[in-house]
Amino acid sequence: MDNNNVILDVKNLKTYFYMSDGVVPAVDGVSFSVKKGETLGIVGESGCGKSVTSLSVMRLIQTPPGKIVEGEILYHGENLLKFPMRKIRQLRGSNISMIFQEPMTSLNPVFQVGDQIAESLTLHQGLHGWDFRTRLRSWGLFWEMVLMSPLFFIPSIRTKLQDINNRLKRMKIDTPAWARAIEMLKLVGIPDPERRATDFPHQMSGGMRQRVMIAMAMACNPEILIADEATTALDVTIQAQILELMKDLRRRFGMSILLITHNLAVVAEMADKIAVMYAGKIVEYANANDLFAKPMHPYSWGLLHSIPRVDQPKSDDKLPTIEGMVPSPFNLPVGCKFHPRCFNAGQRCKEEEPPLQTLENGRQIRCWFPISHEGGA
């Protein structure tokens, strides 16, 4: 694991939230590593700490309540937790990017989408966009428009006004950052990107906005893309398109993806490795193929078998579910955190927490009684 290809190496990460009711161990000793060009899927139920893990990697945890209490996040061997904020800000967006869950609200409603993509280029690559300097150059044109605008009802002046408006728009589009932003919009498959770049977020559909988010995250060619439930809010066809797009971009630019989702179909499609999280801990960490073929942890097994499948013969049995509820973070069970819901739990599970054991093929599992697949599941 310790070869040069490893870009991100998270070791024993613990992120706790200090609430008035007590301490919530949202992420409690998570370790994983991502190689260049690799996709790691982190799956789990709501509240299992997936998102907090990704936010911790970005150092976006809100501190008063939250705090990274322990662990290391090694980016090319350097610990991000020891970086000053200024350096972290340089990394964000240019080396490590993030796509957020809600395309509807993650874009700033008062800026044109082109501006928002251009901003990260301005911040990290020094390309200048529609900033004060370039605006100053259009000053004369602008005032011409302002002074003429009261006479808009005269047809010839109206055409002239439209012409000036187009020229102003053109000037904006031609700034280096905007040109690159439009290129990005084209790359993520938005039709007529020049016109759409001047749209505001509310003028776009959900899928379009998610594409814009991806364009924003991809603008500086990051090494790691963190997709936090990036496709959850989209319908299935758009979801498929977005996943296809991400795969395509991964292939082209060789970036690593940290895919955070509760949708197993998405990880099956995308991920090379999968980490299954439960109550702030990784319970199973395996190659995607291994996990889908032979889930060893009862929780992974439960997750996989609670999805109805079209390729299996129809049966009258009920669809298996994982009984019970996610435990309250203030009141986690003693021993294995999953034992109250586990069909395989024994006495030992109630008393002692299982360690993360490493099996062959780099597979890790946190269970006293893993499911054996020797007889075939």
Binding site: M58, L60, P64, R89, Q90, L91, R92, G93, S94, S97, M98, F100, Q101, E102, T105, S106, L107, N108, P109, V110, F111, E119, S120, L123, H124, N166, R167, R170, E194, R195, D199, F200, H202, Q203, M213, M216, A217
Partner: protein, 455 residues
Amino acid sequence: MAKDRKNRKKVTVIDNPNEQEILKTAEYSMMQAIWSRFRRHKLAVVGLVIFLFMLVFSLAAPLFEVVTGYPKNYTSLHIKSLPGSIPGIAVSITDPDWNNTEVYENGKEFWFTNIDEENGTALINMTTFENEDYKRKYRFTLKSLGDVDALDSVIETKRDDTGAVVRDEDGKPIREKVGLKEYFIGRAQNKRHIATGQILTYMPPKDGIDTTIDPSTGNGREEYVGPAPMHILGTDGGGHDVLPRLAYGGRISLMIAFSVTFITGLVGIFFGALAGFFGGFADALLLRVIELMGTIPLLPIYMVLVKVIPGGQTPFALILIFSVFGWAGHARMVRGTFFRERSQEYCESAKAIGAGNMRIMFKHLLPNAIAPVITSMSLGVGSIILSESSLSFLGLGADPLTTPTWGALIFEANQYFLNMPWPGIFAGLLIFMTVVSFFFMGDGLRDALDPRQKI
């Protein structure tokens, strides 16, 4: 390229008539969206129209001055009542060398000294401000000399139609009590005095306080004329047309209100943004300061400060004083909105592309948080006009002689309101309309500036 896009648009329009509508909405700019949302509030549009009217009215002040031929200010000559002299309510002065009009320019001072009540004459020393050496004695005829025992009446020497003093059997002039209104109307109608070029004062003098007179340059002033074709809003106690004075007053009142709103808005946004964004200690500190300011009764403190600060009764000092105490409300509002907005996803995503705190605060959050502040600022404009007016009404605002604000005009008009109500009424009406217009606009602005509202 631009041409291409234009052509393509044309084609789509022909293909599908609905497309035009779609393109139209898609190309709505921010300003258009704001305007179309604002327009939905009928009252807000009414407010905007009233406000624009006020703006144009105030800016056109010099025009009114030219049209009516009446300047905004008293070109003041002060008649001082010195010890031993009798306070004169009004003087009509006949100068032997009346041709020499330049001495009646601005900046001269008068003293009554040798008063001969019997003959109705007095010796007046005139000194220029510019040059103490320049003293010249003039003999003036006093039209009337009298004690002012009440505001509503004047004791005047009785005269016959030719202007000669009527005397009793002992040869003493007969003095009679005249109602103030009749008195003034009588003056206004007395063209003879006007023709000879008189200097008149209309303000009932108080002890030791200057009475202001207007050295009309030969052309007569009609004082206390009600609204008439010649003077649409009538004339006031200085024989000045009310219209240009109101327009100039509007300039100063609106200037004070806008400056204060602008300054308090900036300060409030800055502190509120810091507190709301960072929370914790900064937030607690700001809240304590705001609470502290909330405990101060504003009107008394304004009254004290206006008197304590040197030059406190000038517009700029008023702006300063109002600004110091006015930002708390805006700051609290900005703090609240920032508190809400900072947990929005777009803020997180701005952080994720590596934007710094200041950039997030003032570039990303502020445009989203500006709507409630603009609303409270537009309400603030109204309340500052009111504060300024109430200060002026108490005689603590700007000096009505040199800076006629609306409040000051009311203060001035208040002294003779019962008999001559129009200057006060019109000034009050303007204040009322302006304040109401801002209240009306507040609602519309709130909806118009909210970026999440549909078009």
